[in-house]
């Protein structure tokens, strides 16, 4: 039996929607492209950097290259796009930008700890030569030098590395550095045993930051003080007393989180929110005739310089003596010492001992590649 033909009205009713749907889907990519181009040029025209033409030769393409660089850097919507991609990267692929390794259970590690140096032995020898030179320079002024090496966070918490097991060339790195220093006759303090032991008492490194926690800093300071005392350094151990007070908690903006550009979803997607106590250390036996000398000077990196970890406070407390902090943030391993030696500090304060805090991850970095 023949099916009844649809009426003209039925056909007309169906036809426009079908045609419209088909046409719409056919035209959609073109309309979408026009929309993108339109939005793009509107944003660009509203951006003042679009109209800034840099100097340089147009003939040889210098000016255009500069213009494009400046144009890309100052795009109005650049940050939104970076965070869009950052969210996708982290939410779907559990990764951040180059520089961070995403471990398990909210732990992040800096890829600097895994950096491979093709000529690590040469870099190590170069740094060692500089350390020996510093040691001799200080010794000429009657000042002792002790090196303390902060182990890599990955070395202390390898159980959270996830799919990034420690590469073989990193596994022996701390031992090699220590051995090289001792062979050169440099007094060195190994912080690994103390930090590994203290893990059971609490977190010694932050999950989202490359640095140690105040507990880690305190543990390291105690281990250092015990080692110095055991070695019989002629220092006024315990002659002063210091106490550390806690004034509430503060939120930590972990430095590794900079590698996760999550934009507006930062709060929702951030793997973990970390806090730390606000600590301050003060001398408790400061009388009218108290000794204000500083027998120890601390030179080092952000592990020592950043007041949030209170490493120098813990060191004062553990040593029972005052410590001058000449550490610098963000200047690498060698520059803080170069600055210290170039200053009048060694002469004016004339310490008995300089503690030079270095880090396992920064040690193999060639001096000329360190931070400016």
């Amino acid at each position: 039996m023949l099916e009844p033909s649809p009426t003209t009205t039925q056909v007309l009713r169906r036809l426009p929607s079908r045609i419209n749907a088909a046409l719409f889907l056919t035209y959609l990519p073109g309309l979408f492209m026009l929309l993108i181009l339109l939005l793009g040029i509107v944003f660009v025209l509203l951006n003042s950097s679009t109209y800034q033409w840099p100097g340089g030769s147009l003939i040889k393409g210098e000016a255009t290259a500069r213009y494009e660089k400046q144009f890309n850097e100052q795009l109005a919507f650049k940050e939104s796009f970076i965070s869009t991609w950052g969210i996708i990267d982290y939410a779907l692929f559990k990764q951040g930008r180059d520089g961070v390794l995403t471990g398990t259970e909210g732990w992040f590690f800096t890829s600097e700890e895994f950096t491979y140096y093709a000529d690590e032995a040469t870099a190590l020898a170069e740094k060692l030569a500089y350390i020996v030179q510093v040691r001799d320079e200080l010794a000429a002024q009657g000042i002792d030098l002790v090196i303390t090496l902060v182990p890599a966070k990955a070395r202390v918490y390898p159980e959270y590395l996830g799919r990034f097991p420690m590469p073989d060339y990193v596994q022996a790195r701390y031992d090699l550095e220590l051995a090289a220093l001792e062979e050169a006759g440099i007094k060195t303090v190994d912080l690994r045993p103390a930090l590994l032991k203290a893990k059971s008492e609490g977190q010694v490194f932050f999950k989202t930051d490359t640095h140690w926690t105040p507990l880690g800093a305190k543990t390291a300071a105690q281990a250092l003080a015990q080692d110095l005392e055991a070695r019989g350094f002629a220092l006024p151990f315990g002659e002063s007393s210091f106490a550390t007070e806690e004034a509430g908690m503060m939120k930590l903006e972990g430095d590794l989180m900079k590698f996760l550009p999550l934009g507006r979803l930062k709060a929702q997607l951030s793997p973990v929110s970390e806090q730390l106590p606000v600590l301050s250390t003060a001398q408790t036996n400061l009388g009218l005739f108290a000794d204000n000398s500083r027998p120890v000077t601390l030179v080092g990196t952000s592990y020592s310089a950043d007041e949030r970890w209170n490493f120098v406070g813990a060191l004062k407390e553990s040593l029972g003596m005052n410590v001058l902090n000449a550490a610098l943030v963000g200047r690498g391993e060698v520059k803080p010492m170069q600055d210290y030696l170039a200053s009048d500090n060694p002469v004016v304060n004339k310490p008995n001992l300089v503690i030079w805090q270095l880090s396992e991850r920064g040690f193999p970095m060639p001096i000329n590649e360190e931070y400016p």
Partner: protein, 469 residues
Amino acid sequence: MVFSTHLFLFVFLPLFLAVYYLLPFKARSAWILFASYAFYGWWRVDFLGLFFAVTLWSFIWGKRIASAPTQAIAKRALIIGMIGNFASLGYFKYFNFGLENLNAILQVLGSRPISLWQVILPIGISFYVFQAVSYLIDVYRKDVEAADNFWDFSAFIALFPQLIAGPILRYKDLVDQFKSRSHTMEKFSEGSMRFMMGFCKKVLIADAISPVVDLTLFHATPTMADAWLGAFVYTLQIFFDFSGYSDMAIGLGLMLGFRFKENFNHPYISRSIGEFWRRWHMSLSGWLREYLYYPLGGNRHGQYRTYFNAATVMILIGIWHGADWTFVIYGCIHSALVIRERHWIYTGRWKERPAIIGIASTMFFVILARVLFVSPDIFTAINVYKGILGFYGLGLSSFVAWQISNFQIFMIVFATVFVYAAPAWLKLLDSHKQKSQLQHSFLVLMPLFVLAIAKLSAQAFSPFLYFNF
């Protein structure tokens, strides 16, 4: 200027299209020409002179060929026209290479090396010179009339969508489209889709996996796993990079109403090297087939002459890509492989193999030869081959494994699946039953395009590999 930049996408392209569609048809070639010169001059204005000279030279000699009273005079005009074009290509592309080799020989002979200037390689020269030469030959063969409008001809040579990395267009294929072409929303939409596809291939895949190549191949002691992984990933990268560029070029052409010929046809499903070259960079292999292989006699003069002709084409393909011994050897290897296949065909030893064996064995040689393509010099290539053979150990180097990101692993797997699933997918799409539904699946490209723009912002500058050629 590069397609996958914000400047192209948000300034050049919208301004160009706005003016293009506001102008009457007659004025559009002039606008294409102006915009294409601005597009090229963004790199360096001084090399526009060379570009213009090649165009003018080819236009003049095209006229002379066409107006020659005898075939002999036309031939002479063709030879002069070709010499001029190839001389500019030879000087700008191969001068440094020639000088380096001459100095190496002089040093061996105990003479002092010659110290001369360094020549800068103009981007896209291999493409536009080949286009110009094809025009002269086509005019000589009377396949096409000599251009009578200099601006249309200049716009053909300069046409910015294909200017710096092809596909290599032929005047005879486009001349009618310069005179008349349609501009419809369907065509614009099709072009937009194609552009988006190319953009995603370039930014989301090729750029993402590119660091894996440097990481695995270019260190002192690549292990067997490093070297094979690097060579394989490079094989994927160059396909997505170059075919992505071609997709963008074809898409932009469609937005302007032009239809360019395809440049790729799923090359990695080829079952022989001969088939590979019929599917990879088809505009180049087609050019060489038409303007070199057939004039040399093709396969019409016996077995050994055929081998010679095929080998000549393959070696020239190698050298066309760059002035280095790596490219010469690359061409020689492909010559040897093509001759081997031809010989098997001549001697009746060629047997149709199961697809999987044919594809795997072809890919094996393609990947091996890619090492020469990616290596900056012959010594690096030798070192990678040592890695491939296991001279430096078997497993992945420990500093390599952790540096390959999850996204890169995903993209390597995705790209591999894409390469082999795409032909089947397109076949399915072509079947009438599913057509309308499957066509709409391409709409997924739109959000991917936005993601690709986002990724572009998040990454540093990403030049195209084929600019070097």
